[in-house]
């Protein structure tokens, strides 16, 4: 079975090489038969990689310790769920996962291609680029980091999975993150295809916008679930430490977020072309860099770099891709110069541009903090760049970003109505101000916290206002009830209102981050049985120790009664587990967390005396942390609304123009633009519609004429 899995990988390497050649050559020489064959080849590539992945699952599930990877990451006694998760617990398996997901995306791209239509010539080139990426990853897994490498004679049992990784969060995190990472290859590939074919239009963005949002959603999920894992499992009471691996996933998220915002500007207004191209190149680079940095071992020591088999290949690949992409961008720079221009600094597109600048700045800050310690290590000087740097330097930019999110929904495209804007902002602003004053009266006095809460409330207020006003205008225009008008908005302009729901989720996350960042309480105490201690609003009483089996290993836990305001709200059980394969680590921590609307009480069992009459604890009160996880689900709902194909096929051509016409009308009725501007832009869109209609009737007339004369 292992040899079979490896053989499938080697075959997939040669197949991706062949596919790269076939797609590029077929596209260049316009060879439809070759391209058809290559598309079938993509299906085979996916099948081969799937077989190989199944072989690794099989080896893990059957405890085949003759496979070195299985011996290194699994053991007989591991729960089945984590035997499956061991697939992506270390380097070789993760790289195979990358390849597998890539092959899946390639298949999906091939299936999404419908014959005819504008921009179809991009497909083979984009598929060629994707095949090239597959060449790299199948090469690595076939020859450099082979997950099926043998260990003979096989040991009687494996080394086991690190207890820290035995957690549902760590099970899901890599999977979700890689869905996001790899998904960014699709818009990158289409961007490169647009450059290669010198197609100046925004077709590549139209083709890939769903892919980008899809991948971005998974990237978001992956990052937040990673924070959730760290929070539950690492036992320091926090969820984000600006650790290099965290930053590695955050940077592509920042650039991807910038990318799909400015892509909207290009789609609508034909500007920012060169900027978008650079953004997608950097996003793709950063996904590869992130994979590299987390999987090469380079972070644990510089020496790992020299020892690591995959590091030089990754560096080479990143260098090659970067050079080729930048060459293409520079060579075709003329094509990327937009025709339109920014009409006003007070417009949606200007606010998107500002968002881009802020995101790019934050990315640069994180990148510097990430790379400087790596570089200085090469000179033998060890420095650390930690949370104080990142929080202090990125904080003001995040604040600006959130404030921008509050203003943006109230702005029209092209040119907003200057005199009306203060009136729009007044409601949300006063709401946020009142909220902040209320908090200040309640004892929240730290300026950073007040500013953070204020801006998050500002975002909530302005989005609620937008929903309210838009539904009211629509209800009046069409004679609908308010709820029906709102439902219609969500269904008809999914992208816009889905996007605002995502922003709502971000506002919730801001509440959670600000609350836990400024008002975390941490206490350490030893308690005799029956004694209690307080942390934040909670009182914790130690009832005694128990032991038993949890997840197949021996565990000891303390029963701790939780009271709030004199009332018992439950019993929580912080644990210590004794993983036999990881004895040298000592009993491993399983924190107990009790969540409520206002925050989490988070308890770690430190140790105990011989009889268990005394136990020591570390306790945290983490205000508003549950809002972070809630905010994530709100974001996912918003993204799903934006993505869901409710109106399949109606987003192109005239339908899209009619949608824009309605949007323009509602924005006008909400007072977002001046009458003269409205009339002018309305006439423009109507002109485009009639131009399309006459073009279509001409072609159909021609067709009918053709039928008449055989």
């Amino acid at each position: 079975m292992p040899s079979f899995g490896h053989a499938a990988l080697v075959l997939s390497f040669f197949l991706s090489l062949g596919l790269t050649g076939a797609f590029f050559y077929g596209a260049r020489s316009r060879h439809p038969a070759l391209l058809r064959a290559a598309r079938t080849g993509v299906f085979f590539l996916f099948a081969l990689v799937t077989l190989s992945a199944l072989a690794l699952f099989y080896a893990l599930l059957t405890d085949d310790f003759s496979v070195r990877y299985v011996a290194a990451t699994s053991e007989r006694n591991l729960p089945v769920l984590y035997k499956i998760g061991a697939f992506w617990a270390a380097q070789e398996g993760s790289l195979l996962l990358w390849l597998w997901i890539l092959a899946g995306y390639m298949l999906a791209v091939a299936l999404s291609q419908r014959g005819g239509g504008r921009g179809q010539e991009l497909f083979p080139w984009a598929q060629g680029v994707l095949s090239l990426v597959a060449v790299f990853f199948s090469f690595l897994t076939s020859f450099i980091a082979n997950p099926f490498a043998r260990l003979l004679p096989p040991p009687p049992d494996g080394n086991g999975l690190n207890p820290l990784l035995q957690d549902p969060g760590m099970w899901g995190h890599p999977l979700l993150l890689y869905m996001g990472y790899v998904g960014m290859s699709v818009p990158y590939a289409f961007g490169m295809a647009a450059l290669i074919t010198r197609s100046p239009g925004a077709e590549w963005l139209r083709f890939t916008r769903r892919w980008t949002i899809f991948a971005w959603t998974f990237l978001t999920l992956g990052i937040v679930v990673g924070g959730w894992w760290a929070y539950r499992e690492l036992g320091w009471g926090g969820y984000w430490a600006w650790d290099p691996v965290e930053n590695a996933s955050f940077m592509p998220w920042l650039t991807a977020t910038a990318f799909f915002h400015s892509a909207m500007v290009e789609e609508r207004r034909g500007i920012l072309k060169n900027w978008n191209m650079l953004l997608i190149v950097f996003t793709f680079m950063l996904t590869i860099f992130g994979t590299f940095i987390t999987r090469s071992g380079i972070l644990s020591s510089v020496h790992a770099f020299a020892q690591s088999d995959i590091a030089p290949w990754f560096m080479g690949f990143i260098g090659l891709i970067l050079a080729a992409s930048l060459y293409l961008v520079l060579d075709r720079y003329g094509m990327l110069v937009g025709r339109g221009e920014l009409e006003s600094l007070l417009s949606k597109e200007a606010s998107f541009l500002a968002n881009n600048l802020i995101l790019a700045t934050i990315t640069a800050i994180v990148f510097v903090g990430e790379v400087v310690p790596l570089l200085t290590k090469l000179w033998g000087v060890e420095v650390s760049v930690g949370p104080p740097y990142f929080n202090a330097v990125t904080g003001p930019f995040f604040l600006l970003m959130v404030l921008l999110m509050a203003v943006c929904p109230l702005l029209a495209w092209r040119r907003a109505h200057l005199r009306n804007l203060p009136r729009f902002l007044a409601g949300p602003f006063l709401f946020a101000l009142g909220f902040a004053l209320l908090l200040a009266a309640g004892g929240i006095r730290r300026p950073g916290a007040l500013l953070g809460f204020f801006s998050a409330a500002f975002v909530l207020g302005s989005i609620v206002r937008e929903f309210w006003q838009a539904s009211r205008v629509r209800a009046r225009a069409l004679g609908l009830s308010l709820p029906r008008a709102l439902g219609g908005l969500l269904v008809r302009n999914q992208r816009r209102y889905g996007g605002y729901i995502v922003h709502l989720g971000i506002a919730l996350i801001v509440f959670g981050v600000v609350g836990s960042n400024y008002y975390q309480v941490s206490e350490k105490f030893s308690l005799r049985m029956g004694e209690s201690a307080t942390v934040g609003p909670y009182t914790l009483a130690y009832l005694g120790l128990e032991e038993g089996i949890r997840d197949n290993v021996d565990a000891v836990w303390a029963n701790v009664e939780v009271r709030r305001g004199g009332k018992v709200v439950g019993v929580i059980r912080p644990e210590r587990r004794f993983y036999p394969k990881f004895e040298q680590m000592g009993p491993s921590t399983e924190a107990a967390i009790r969540s409520s609307l206002t925050g989490d009480v988070y308890l770690i069992l430190g140790g105990w005396d011989a009889g268990g009459t005394v136990a020591s604890f570390q306790a945290f009160w983490n205000p508003l942390v549950p809002w972070i996880w809630t905010g994530l689900w709100v974001m996912v709902v918003g993204a799903a609304l934006a993505l869901w194909p409710l109106r399949r096929g109606r987003e192109e051509g005239e339908e899209a123009l009619y949608l824009r016409l309605r949007e323009l009308e509602y924005d006008y009725r909400m007072g977002k633009m001046e009458a003269a501007d409205y009339e002018r832009w309305r006439a423009e869109i109507l002109g485009e519609i009639s131009a399309r209609e006459s073009a279509r009737s001409q072609t159909s007339r021609r067709r009918r004429g053709g039928r008449r004369t055989p």
Binding site: R68, Y69, A71, A72, T73, A89, A90, Q91, E92, L151, P155, N159, N162, P163, L164, G235, D243, V245, T294, R295, S296, G297, I298, L299, S300, S301, A304, Q307, S308, A364, I365, V368, G369, V372, P373, V381, E382, V383, S384, V385, G386, P388, Y389, A392, V393, K524, S526, Q584, M585, G586, S588, T589, I604, G606, G607, W608, D609, A615, S616, Q618
Partner: protein, 112 residues
Amino acid sequence: MVIANLPRAMTYYYPVDQYLMQRAELGTRHVQVKGKVVPGTIKWNPVALDLRFVIRENGREMPVAYQGLKPDTLQDDIEVVVAGRWEGNEFQAKSVMVKCPSRYISTENVGK
């Protein structure tokens, strides 16, 4: 802004030997010291929440005391960064960070 903040935000790690050499001039300043845990020196009293161990770098050793929980990953021979100051005849740590290779695990050394 980035440039201005970076030098301030970067924290230098003193290897144990260098720190001990410069101790006189550093006095009781808050610093970060990096070293490897000397095998067999970890003493952890879970009831009193009192953790003691010795770290070593380039042949020099330094005793460290910390009041709090023992990090799961603190073990013999592992590299740690302790932040704190000199008090009496030991280093009183405010925090103990284990440079935890398991998070960036590669299977390099398995089965060899």
